[in-house]
Amino acid sequence: MESMIKQKIKEVKKGDQSAFEDIVTFYQNKVYHICLRMIGNAYEAEDLAQEAFIRAYTNIHTFDERRKFSTWLYRIATNLTIDRIRKKKPDYHLDAEVKGTDGLDMYSQMAADQALPEEEVESLELQTYIHKEILALPPKYRSVIVLRYLDELSLQEIAEVLEIPVGTVKTRVHRGREALRKRLRHV
């Protein structure tokens, strides 16, 4: 699949705009997913994902074909989304967010001894709740968690997407997981 994408990129670089369509079709779900889980709102996620593809197109000549295209594309998408989050809200404080109990009560009642039936995990309500908890993470933890668990990128790939050292990725994944553990323990 990478080789098909590589070929398409070559064609786009040569000025064939229509070759870009296959690239968008191939990556649209992934990119949209990253944006959605990070921004939490379908309308904005669509806007951001579109913008990411348009930027990828206009900057295609700066893409080094020896690198992985998905890494480059995700970087554009996450940078745009992180910028948007920064403009929207002041700062998050991990501890404050983690200590918050908003929305937990309903779920803590069904906790502990009462094990969840399998299909319950897939219920829309629970999904919405989990997504809300991901969104409650400060952006720097949210981005690594989204890339790690929703897109299943390796730590190394996340480091390349976010342009931060692998050590920093590890620390953030670690803290993000701890935060989610506390927030989801009653589910």
């Binding site: 000025g15 705009q17 870009f20 369509e21 968008v24 079709t25 649209q28 779900n29 990119v31 949209y32 997913h33 959605l36 379908a42 669509e46 994902a49 579109q50 593809f53 348009i54 197109y57 206009t58 900057n59 000549h61 995990v121 897939e122 629970l126 999904q127 989990i130 997504h131 991901i134 968690i145 668990y149 929703l150 299943e152 730590l155 590890k170 994944v173 670690h174 997981r177 701890e178 989610l180 553990r181 506390k182 927030r183 989801l184 323990r185 589910v187």
Partner: protein, 218 residues
């Protein structure tokens, strides 16, 4: 084993698939004896499972079409620039010849002021710089866009850009001596530069700088 400082750190390493054999054994041993860490580990795995198992989402309908419609239009000018960027040699040659036979060429021939590197004791008469008789210029002399006539002497190199050295008025026997290089009126080297090629090349390079500056702005 310290629960917070060691066991929890090992749990995260485990979850990132980075636990060594020895560490794995130590973690297992600890979990077997520590209820609190067992809970912690269970909660961690459960949280990540919940996050992982959320159903994948699809991009909205018409997403690709919307992106394609919003791409900047492939402009004529842009593809022309792209062509030039991809073929620097052809471009260099083309630009060179265009400049050669167009405005630049006449610009070279017209409106050129005579300039000379030294002014003292020199006369300038209708594009001719004259070193008058009896005058000795000490040091190198450069004349641009004009001819040079040496009636006196120059003690140094002479450079003439876009001009010629012209003989002084014949002065009897002296003119014969002028042919003799040992008796020429200047002591150093004579360089005449027909600078038109450099001039055009300068503009060619200028064009390229702008072409690539334009490209990187996209």
């Amino acid at each position: 084993m310290n629960c917070k400082k060691e066991a929890v750190v090992l749990m995260h390493k485990y979850m990132d698939g980075e636990l060594h054999k020895e560490e794995e054994r130590r973690l297992r041993d600890h979990l077997n004896t520590c209820q609190s860490c067992q809970n912690h580990f269970h909660e961690l795995k459960r949280a990540t499972t919940l996050v992982k198992n959320t159903s994948p989402v699809s991009a909205p309908k018409n997403f690709t079409a919307n992106v394609m419609n919003n791409l900047p239009k492939e402009k004529k000018r842009k593809s022309y620039v792209r062509y030039l960027q991809r073929h620097p040699l052809i471009t260099a040659a083309a630009v060179f010849f265009i400049l050669m036979f167009s405005g630049i060429f006449s610009a070279w021939n017209q409106d050129q002021q005579v300039t000379v590197s030294k002014q003292e004791n020199l006369e300038i008469r209708e594009n001719v710089v004259i070193v008058p008789e009896g005058v000795t210029v000490s040091g190198d002399l450069t004349v641009r866009n004009g001819d040079l006539r040496i009636d006196g002497k120059i003690d140094g190199d002479v450079t003439i850009i876009n001009g010629d050295i012209i003989d002084g008025e014949p002065q009897g026997e002296i003119s014969d001596e002028f042919d003799n290089s040992t008796l020429r009126a200047y002591s150093g080297e004579l360089t005449e530069v027909n600078q038109i090629y450099e001039w055009v090349w300068y503009h060619t390079k200028q064009f390229f700088t702008e072409l690539f500056a334009f490209g990187s702005d996209e």
